[in-house]
Structures are given as structure tokens and as C-alpha cells.
């Protein structure tokens, strides 16, 4: 095929990028080579717009075994145990075919984790849809939820936590981010760096079909009307084969056979082979006629760019071929040596002994373009909202409006479609601040949570970036876990737009600042740009997935109230910040103002103190106060336990609306028994923590003195109805 301007454009390459290719090759590329460049140089694989900013994130710490740059990040959890985790987006495929898009998103992230030698122990997700009234939302919601469940349930890994949100900003571009967490032995972690020349390059797993050809390019292009035509490229997930691949890989990993291993994700065979060779500063030579194909007459171009799922590339030690082959045969999987490592530092592609393409590895990796895109700062919104000018709403009305809204309704409809208990180590399920997974056969556990707050990030990206790291940190603290590290999925609009690029740069500044201050490094992640349609970009939506450690199974907590007549203590200062609040959004459809300020000093001090109190077994339940304010958090604690509580009127004269709905940060609610109250207060005072005793637990009624009193069962009913009626 002739390489015309149109062909170049269809491959998502800009004119000057094409010139650069000619320069690097010192000739024109052929069609196959062009395809390979397009796959490796697109945003998804090359991080060309984001790299400069990502570099600034803190990625190191005593707890970090492996930071970004591998298939997933690795943290140390003591003894000989390590946790391997990563989050990834599958936004565009899920919008086109929600079931398969979401399912293959889960499959892909699982492979990233077990490629490194971990047995996956938990799945999480963050899914964002358009408004419920949008005609596409319902079927997208149904498809995505059953796709996530379909894959995770079948492969037998519990889906334990996540968030499901609705906002008009996602009407034309939903977000489906999936996170996988695995457990491995510290001395049994596998990397993707090739070593040694003439080592066998082995293809294992499913056969290659014409699935998702140009999927990686699609993920990096804005949608337009013709997106519908790109549909046939969506891949179909096969969780059954993935389960076999998982077991076969883990079986092979018991031995010392593997030099390097890499899953074939976006850009399939191309990116996996280039990545391994590049990390090892080697070359790689593939005999493409050996690639197991599902369809007849597949061309080298199709084989190299196919995104068929459930495949891996392995570089084996000498003389291990037969041993490895037996294992894959046992699991009914293809196992074919398709090439070898070389010292040429070139990617050489042969088909029936004829060289069809030859590209220096460097040209595809370290010499891929990096852009320092223009960006502009966003000013802190000046406008403050004067609630005295709004129609007065009672606390009860305001709370009911929130609890019955799509974003704050009970998510049982979603989570009951996921197997949360398989593997029998789930100590705390969805619906808590964080889920808790026991390390199998051990007296310790990890806590995991995913969070995002797009409206804060949109209003003021630096504050939003900081806030979301802090909220994630708080969620882990609230269940009694020491936060270790995070993975992030950065969902943004078109980076060629300097306003969007500014949102990205500033969110990252915020994330960096919070992560550094809290010693909460970023160990893995994924960037998804071009989220939006026809020039309408989504709100900046960085999603943070955090992992924390619980060293003693006797000290973790849920946010369910435990018994009557306990004290409720509010940790942290309440100023009554209503800008960007859920209260204004749900009750007045106002989404203005600035996000609440984040004070990292207080955040850290409050968090560490609460964690110590939990570890001392002085707390019965704990919950962080976030979106929806104090009253919403209290209602969540009450509803989850079907237990009531009574809050006394705040002593100082304050506007109750601001007090109860304000979204000031760094706050927690603690349930404390009478007998421990003195001890807890003393400890709080010694650590200079601002706190208020706000009330106590009681039977049956959710009560705020002089303001409202509701039967807890009625509150639950209000909270449960939205999904069932949708």
C-alpha cells in the first residue's frame, strides 16, 4: 500500500512526526513499519504529552519495591510479602461496546498484575457515566456493570470496591477505570527486561485475531460521528482463557525459567516485544508465520497490531522450553517460540524467511516524541456562594435530597452483581471507606480504595489534585490501615488544548504536593487523554487507587456504628465550606465556587492520630467526612448499621446548613465507648487535634437536636430506592 498523507493521518500521525520517522529510518517506512510507529508513538504507549509532568511525581519510598515503568507498581508489606497493583482506563472501548469494553478492561489490568508474578486478590473500579436522563446512560451502566462482573466473577477474583458516579460531563465519553491488586513473594517478582542474546521469545495464550486493530490509536483520538464505524475493532474478552493463562503463568513462575515476561495489551505484539528489547538494550527478531492465528490469511501488519486479549510474551532461559511447553499444554493454551533476542538493537520482522520490516528499537522507545505542550493556569474562582440568598431548605430536606440522588444512593444494585467473597479473604466489602483483603493464611491485611472528585479538580485543579490524594489517604486511615502508595488513572480531555493541558499539569502539581507531604508515593498509573467529543472535553478526572497495610487483624474497623450509647467525636475543624458542595449541586443545581482548602499539615496530623487511636483499639467505628458533609457521613454510619444517633446542636452559634453540609477537609467521625472517652480525649489533646464531641449513638432514630428526627429504616428506604427505580 502506498503511504499517502491520508494513510499517515489515518494512523494518527502528524506530518512532522512522519518526517521524524523518515529521519530515524533514513528512508520511508513501509506500511507495516508505519503501523508499528503509529502504535508506539501514540499517546497511549508513548506518554508523549504527559511524560514531562509525570516525571515530577514522587515515586520512591522505603515501602516501594518497584515504581512506574513496569507492568505494575510493587510495595513491600513486610515479611516476604509484596503487593503489586495498577489502575488503567478503558474509556473509549467501553463507550462503543460497554460489556466487552469493560470486561476487557478488567482482563487487561489483571494481566498487568499477574505478569509480574502476583496472584490477583482484588479488583476495584471507578466508573463515570453521563446524567441518568441521557438516553445512552442506562444501557451503558447496565453493560459496564455486567461486563466488570462478568469478567471478575468468572475468573474468580473478588471485585471489592469502587465508585459509580453520574455527571453531564461524561454524557458523550464515559470513564471505565479498572484496578487490580495482587500478592507475590518479594523474591518472586517478574520484570519485563530482556537479558541475553539468542534467548527464545515465546508466545503463549489465546490465538491472534483481527481484534482491536488500531485500538491503541483509537484510545488516543477524540470521538466524532464516525466513531461508530470504528466499532469492529472492539475486542471480546474471554475470562475463561485468562483464568487458564493466570494459572499456567503462576505455575511456570514457581521455577526459574522466565527471564522476562510482558503481557500483550495495547498495541499487542508490537509494544510487548519492543518494551522487553528496549529495557534490555537488545534487539528482537520475530518469525511472524509462527504466530498462532485465529483467522485465515492474516498479514504481518494485522498480527503486529492485533489487540486480541489473553496473550503474553515470554523470554525463556535456555533449555526450559519443553518444561514450559508442558505446563501450557496442561492448561490447553498455545505455546509457540516465535523469535529470539538479538544484539542488533533492531526489531526485525520476518514472514516466511523474508524480512518485512526492520526498525531500530530506540526509534520506537527512547526516541519517540516527547512534547512540552503549552498550558495555562486556572485562577481560583472568586465567587463565593451566599446561602442566605438561596431558598431555605431544612436539614432534613437537604439530606433526603442527597441520599436519594443517583450519586449518593446505596450502590447495592451495582455491587451485588460482583462476587465480593470468592477467595474467602474479604474482611470488608464495598460500601465502606475502603475494602479490606486478608493476605491468605496470614494475620495481616491490606486496605484498598479508589477515589475521584472531578468537580473539585475542574474548579481548581491544584486543590483538586491535592484533595483527592488526601481523601484516598483518609479512606484507608478510616479502616485502620497505614497508607502505603497509590496508583493513578489520569482521565483528561484533549492535551493539544492549552486549557486542558493546564488542568493536567496543575492536577499533577496538587497530587505531587500531597503525595510528597504524606509520604504516599505513586508506583504505577495510566494516562488517558482525548476524553471528550467534538471539542467538548470532560472535567479533569484523576482517579486515585490507594493501598494500605493492616498489620494486625484485631484492629481494623468498619464505618458501621457498633452499639448504642457511644460517643461520637468529630475530628478536624468545620468552617462550613459550601463551594462545589454536593449540597448545592443536589439541592440547587449550583456547581460554583472553589473547592474546600486542603491543609496538609492538619491532614497528616489528624490522620496519623486517628490511625494510632484505631491501632490502640480505642475506637469502635470511624468514617471520613467528605462529599455531602458531616450529616451525610453520619447518615452513612447509621444506615450501614441500622442504628440511630443523636447530634446535639453545635455549641457555637453557626449556620446549621453550613455546619452540617460543609465539605471541609481532614475530618473524621469516631465512635468511642464511654469507658475510653477520657483516654481518647487526652490523646487528641496531646497531639494538638481539634475535635468536638457532637453526640452519641442511640436506638432507631437519626436525630439532630431541634432540627430533625427520622426513623433509620425510613432513611434506608430513601437511600435504597434510586437504582431500583431507574
Amino acid at each position: 500500500m502506498n503511504i499517502t498523507d491520508k494513510v499517515i493521518e489515518n494512523h494518527g500521525l502528524k506530518k512532522d512526526e512522519y518526517k521524524n520517522i523518515q529521519k530515524l529510518l533514513k528512508r520511508d517506512p513501509n506500511f507495516l513499519e508505519l503501523g508499528i510507529f503509529s502504535a508506539m508513538w501514540n499517546e497511549h504507549c508513548s506518554y508523549k504529552s504527559s511524560r514531562k509532568h509525570l516525571k515530577k511525581l514522587p515515586t520512591k519510598g522505603k515501602q516501594v519495591i518497584q515504581g512506574p515503568g513496569e507492568n505494575a507498581g510493587v510495595v513491600d508489606i513486610g515479611d516476604d510479602d509484596a503487593i503489586i497493583f495498577k489502575i488503567e482506563s478503558h474509556n473509549h472501548p467501553s463507550y462503543i461496546e460497554p460489556y466487552q469494553g469493560a470486561a476487557t478492561g478488567v482482563g487487561g489490568i489483571l494481566r498487568d498484575v499477574f505478569t509480574m508474578g502476583a496472584r490477583p486478590i482484588a479488583l476495584l473500579n471507578s466508573i463515570h457515566f453521563g446524567t441518568p436522563a441521557h438516553p445512552k446512560t442506562k444501557s451503558l451502566l447496565n453493560g459496564v456493570v455486567s461486563g466488570i462482573g462478568g469478567y471478575g466473577n468468572c475468573i474468580g477474583i473478588p471485585t471489592v470496591a469502587g465508585e459509580t458516579k453520574f455527571s453531564e460531563t461524561y454524557n458523550e465519553n464515559i470513564l471505565v477505570n479498572a484496578m487490580a491488586v495482587g500478592h507475590a513473594k518479594k523474591n518472586k517478582i517478574f520484570y519485563s527486561k530482556a537479558k541475553g542474546v539468542n534467548k527464545a521469545v515465546v508466545y503463549v495464550g489465546s490465538k491472534t485475531g483481527r481484534d482491536g486493530i488500531h485500538g491503541a490509536s483509537m484510545a488516543s483520538a477524540e470521538f466524532d460521528e464516525s466513531s461508530e464505524e470504528k466499532k469492529p475493532t472492539v475486542q471480546v474478552g474471554d475470562p475463561f482463557t485468562e483464568k487458564l493463562l493466570l494459572e499456567a503463568c503462576l505455575e511456570l513462575m514457581k521455577d526459574e525459567s522466565i527471564i522476562a515476561i510482558q503481557d500483550m495489551g495495547a498495541a499487542g505484539l508490537t509494544s510487548s516485544s519492543v518494551e522487553m528489547a528496549s529495557k534490555g538494550s537488545l534487539g528482537i527478531e520475530l518469525d511472524l508465520e509462527k504466530v498462532p492465528c485465529r483467522e485465515e490469511n492474516m498479514t504481518p501488519y494485522e498480527m503486529m497490531l492485533s489487540e486480541s486479549q489473553e496473550r503474553m510474551l515470554i523470554i525463556l532461559e535456555d533449555n526450559k522450553e519443553e518444561y514450559a511447553r508442558k505446563i501450557f499444554k496442561k492448561w490447553d493454551l498455545d505455546f509457540v517460540v516465535i523469535g529470539k533476542t538479538t544484539d542488533t538493537k533492531n526489531l526485525v520482522l520476518k514472514f516466511n524467511d523474508e524480512i518485512k520490516g526492520e526498525i531500530p528499537i530506540e526509534a520506537l522507545s527512547s526516541k519517540a516524541p516527547v512534547y512540552d505542550r503549552k498550558w495555562i493556569r486556572k485562577k481560583l474562582p472568586k465567587k463565593e456562594i451566599d446561602i442566605k440568598k438561596l431558598k431555605k431548605i431544612s436539614l432534613e430536606e437537604g439530606l433526603i435530597k442527597i441520599l436519594s440522588s443517583p450519586n449518593y444512593s446505596n450502590k447495592d444494585w451495582v455491587t451485588s452483581q460482583y462476587d465480593q467473597m470468592v477467595m474467602c479473604d474479604t474482611l470488608l466489602k464495598s460500601g465502606s471507606d475502603a475494602a479490606i483483603i486478608r493476605i491468605h493464611n496470614k494475620d495481616k491485611a491490606i486496605a484498598v480504595s479508589v477515589d475521584s472528585s472531578a468537580n473539585y479538580c475542574n474548579s481548581h485543579p491544584i486543590t483538586g489534585g491535592k484533595q483527592i490524594v488526601c481523601e484516598n489517604w483518609r479512606n484507608l486511615i478510616s479502616v485502620g490501615a497505614k497508607p502505603l502508595a497509590i496508583t493513578n488513572c489520569l482521565n483528561f480531555g484533549n492535551p493539544e488544548n492549552e486549557k486542558i493541558m493546564g488542568e493536567f499539569a496543575e492536577c499533577l502539581e496538587g497530587i505531587k504536593e500531597a503525595c510528597e507531604y504524606l509520604n504516599y508515593p505513586v508506583v504505577s498509573g495510566n494516562v488517558s487523554f482525548y476524553n471528550g467529543t467534538n471539542k467538548k472535553n470532560i472535567f479533569p478526572t484523576p482517579v486515585i487507587g490507594g493501598v494500605g497495610l493492616i498489620n494486625n487483624l484485631n484492629t481494623y474497623l468498619s464505618h458501621h456504628l457498633k452499639e448504642e450509647k457511644n460517643n461520637l467525636i468529630l475530628i478536624g475543624k468545620t468552617f462550613g465550606h459550601l463551594g462545589q458542595s454536593c449540597f448545592l449541586k443536589e439541592n440547587y443545581s449550583i456547581s460554583e465556587g472553589r473547592p474546600p482548602e486542603v491543609n496538609l499539615l492538619n491532614e497528616k496530623n489528624n490522620g496519623e492520630t486517628v490511625l494510632n487511636l484505631i491501632n490502640k483499639n480505642l475506637i469502635r467505628s470511624a468514617h471520613d467526612v467528605s462529599s455531602g458533609g458531616l450529616i451525610t457521613s453520619l447518615s452513612e454510619m447509621a444506615m450501614s448499621a441500622k442504628l440511630g444517633l443523636k447530634i446535639s446542636k453545635p455549641r457555637k452559634l453557626r449556620n446549621p446548613t453550613e455546619y452540617f453540609f460543609g465539605e471541609d477537609q481532614s475530618r473524621y467521625i469516631l465512635e468511642v465507648k464511654n469507658e475510653n472517652l477520657d483516654k481518647v480525649q487526652k490523646y487528641l489533646k496531646n497531639n494538638n487535634i481539634f475535635y468536638e464531641i457532637i453526640g452519641s449513638t442511640q436506638k432507631k432514630y437519626f436525630e439532630i437536636e431541634g432540627e430533625m428526627k427520622l426513623d433509620i429504616n425510613d432513611l434506608c428506604k430513601i437511600n435504597n430506592q434510586w437504582y431500583n427505580n431507574y
Binding site: 481484534d211 466499532k231 469492529p232 475486542q235 471480546v236 474471554d238 475463561f240
Partner: protein, 80 residues
């Protein structure tokens, strides 16, 4: 009028079910089996005498609901 509709996955789309069924049948000794693709089958009875109109309606049913055109094809057969 009665029609049948057969929905199968498009030619190049992976068919995990078909693959497993094919392997199992081979294991049961049916060795000359070449390939199996699975699908769905509908029998549709509609109250319409004009076969042109009826067929258009069936096509509409397929495209609007029965088939997921992103990954599936449909075939329509007239029964009587």
C-alpha cells in the same frame, strides 16, 4: 407470517463459547470437526400479510435489539 432469525458473531470476532464447544466435541471423538461458531435463534410470528413490510420489520427488530451489530451479524429466513 413466520420468520426465523439467526444471530452469530461476526466472522472475525472471537467466539470463546464456540471454541470451548469445539474442543469438547473433538475430545468426545468427533475428530473430523472443522469449526463451530455459536449463536442465537429466534422464531418470530408477525401479524402482517405484506412480506416486504414484514421483512423490513424483522430487519428493524434485528438492528434495534436482537443483534449487537458491533460484534454480531444476523440472518433472516422466511418460515411460512
Amino acid at each position: 407470517m413466520k420468520y426465523s432469525v439467526t444471530i452469530t458473531l461476526k466472522k472475525d470476532v472471537l467466539d470463546p463459547q464456540g471454541k470451548v464447544v469445539q474442543n469438547t466435541l473433538s475430545n468426545l471423538g468427533m475428530t473430523n470437526l472443522k469449526s463451530i461458531r455459536q449463536g442465537k435463534f429466534f422464531e418470530i410470528d408477525i401479524d402482517e400479510n405484506d412480506s416486504k413490510k414484514a421483512e423490513n420489520l424483522i430487519v428493524e427488530m434485528c438492528e434495534k435489539l436482537l443483534a449487537n451489530l458491533i460484534i454480531e451479524d444476523y440472518k433472516i429466513n422466511k418460515l411460512k
